[in-house]
């Protein structure tokens, strides 16, 4: 304590009013602000890193949880749902507008496309709706 110049220690600052204490205190505050900002930055970096790790872990876990049977059920349900909705819509349109075969033909084909799209999305081979910056995986998902 005796070896250090007066005023450098903030605890002593109040007991020694002489010798430019205000500037010293100000610089002290500045330093601690900078240190605090640095700490805050490091903390947010650590949180971000942890978050991204968590994210990738949950995605990996989700893929791993799909057993063969579960995957088959899911993919077929997705495909059938697309075709059924397309066919149903076509039937309804025909019923309302009286365009007998055409609505069913067109919408059934579109439903077929939607079914394929559903399957590709479930398998991770196509982007989710509204997703930007999507990169295709380098191969079909693990089974």
């Amino acid at each position: 304590m005796s070896g250090r110049p007066a005023g450098q220690d903030p605890a002593d600052g109040s007991s020694e009013p002489q010798g430019g204490t205000p500037e010293v205190v100000a610089s002290q505050a500045e330093v601690s602000d900078a240190v605090l900002a640095e700490r805050l930055r490091q903390l947010s970096q650590r949180i971000d890193a942890e978050k991204s790790v968590k994210q990738s872990q949950t995605v990996a876990a989700r893929e791993r949880d799909m057993t063969g049977f579960g995957k088959a059920m899911r993919l077929s349900a997705d495909f059938i749902a697309g075709v059924v909705v397309g066919g149903g819509l076509g039937w309804a349109v025909d019923k309302w507008l009286g365009t007998m075969p055409w609505g069913m033909i067109v919408l059934l084909l579109l439903g077929f496309c939607a079914g394929v799209l559903n399957v590709m999305r479930t398998a991770g081979l196509a982007p989710q709706p509204g997703e930007t910056g999507w990169q295709p995986k380098d191969g079909p998902p693990r089974s």
Binding site: K54, T67, A77, A81, L110, G111, A114, N118, P129, G130
Partner: protein, 249 residues
């Protein structure tokens, strides 16, 4: 009748209620829905009544269920998704408890009826559409128009996207219903084999060990499916809610 694998899915009226020509009867399905709600609520209330800092067994299960659903929702829909936590947690507990109650012999499995699972799926999709329009207005429709598609193809791709979106409640409900119904039917068929084989004399009784082993194995598999399907339903609910929260990402 004892050997009919479909008989377990039949509805039977307990209290007939008729409102203006519509059938609102209280059936065995309604009874088990009430039972599911009562069991799920009762279990969670009993488990959390102690509020121990060091959880007991029941509280541990309840906390794990909470952590699991919260983690799934956060990872799929972000922190804003947590506003849907009460709904997602209720759905998860309802489906899980309904599946598990269905595993008790002579009990009715409500999730093996497509109308029940479809109603649950419509609840989810209704929430997605309602909240999407409430939060983003017409911008929510941007979900159906993908980026970077040639102008000529936009109407076609949009139609496909709309059908794909409409097929979600179907695939969500069909998946749960098909898994539960197929599993319970298979279980009943193999259990029926034991009875019919043992009626065929000593050789039959000896041979009936094989379907008995199969029934035991299938029962284990069915418990796995009960958990897995509740999980899948929850994960997909979270993914769809993510679309309502971030239609443009």
């Amino acid at each position: 009748m004892a050997n009919d694998p479909i008989h377990q899915f039949q509805l039977s009226t307990i209290v007939p209620i008729d409102v203006g020509g519509l059938n609102f009867s209280f059936t065995n399905s309604s009874l088990f829905m009430v039972a599911t709600t009562v069991v799920a609520t009762g279990f969670l209330a009993a488990a959390t009544s102690g509020r121990g800092l060091v959880p007991g067994r029941m509280q541990m299960v309840a906390e794990q269920a909470y952590e699991f659903v919260a983690g799934t929702l956060r990872s799929a829909a972000g922190t804003e998704g947590m506003r849907f936590f009460p709904m997602v947690f209720s759905l998860f507990m309802f489906v899980l408890v309904a599946n598990l109650i269905g595993m008790v012999p002579y009990f009715f499995t409500i999730t093996s009826h497509i109308i029940v699972t479809f109603a649950l799926a419509m609840l989810v999709i209704g929430t997605v559409v309602g909240y999407g329009f409430y939060k983003h207005g017409l911008h929510f429709l941007g979900l159906f128009v993908p980026h970077g598609v040639p102008t000529l193809l936009v109407p076609l791709v949009t139609a496909i996207e709309v059908i794909s979106f409409l097929s979600r409640p179907i695939s969500l409900s069909v998946r749960l219903f098909a898994n539960m119904m197929a599993g319970h039917t298979a279980l009943k068929v193999f259990a029926g084999f034991i009875v019919s084989m043992s009626a065929a004399g000593a050789v039959g009784v000896a041979g009936s060990v094989l379907p008995l082993l199969m029934t035991v194995a299938l029962t284990g598999l069915e418990f796995l499916v009960a958990f897995l399907q509740a999980y899948v339903f929850t994960v997909l609910t979270c993914m769809y809610l993510n679309d309502a929260l971030h239609p443009g990402h």
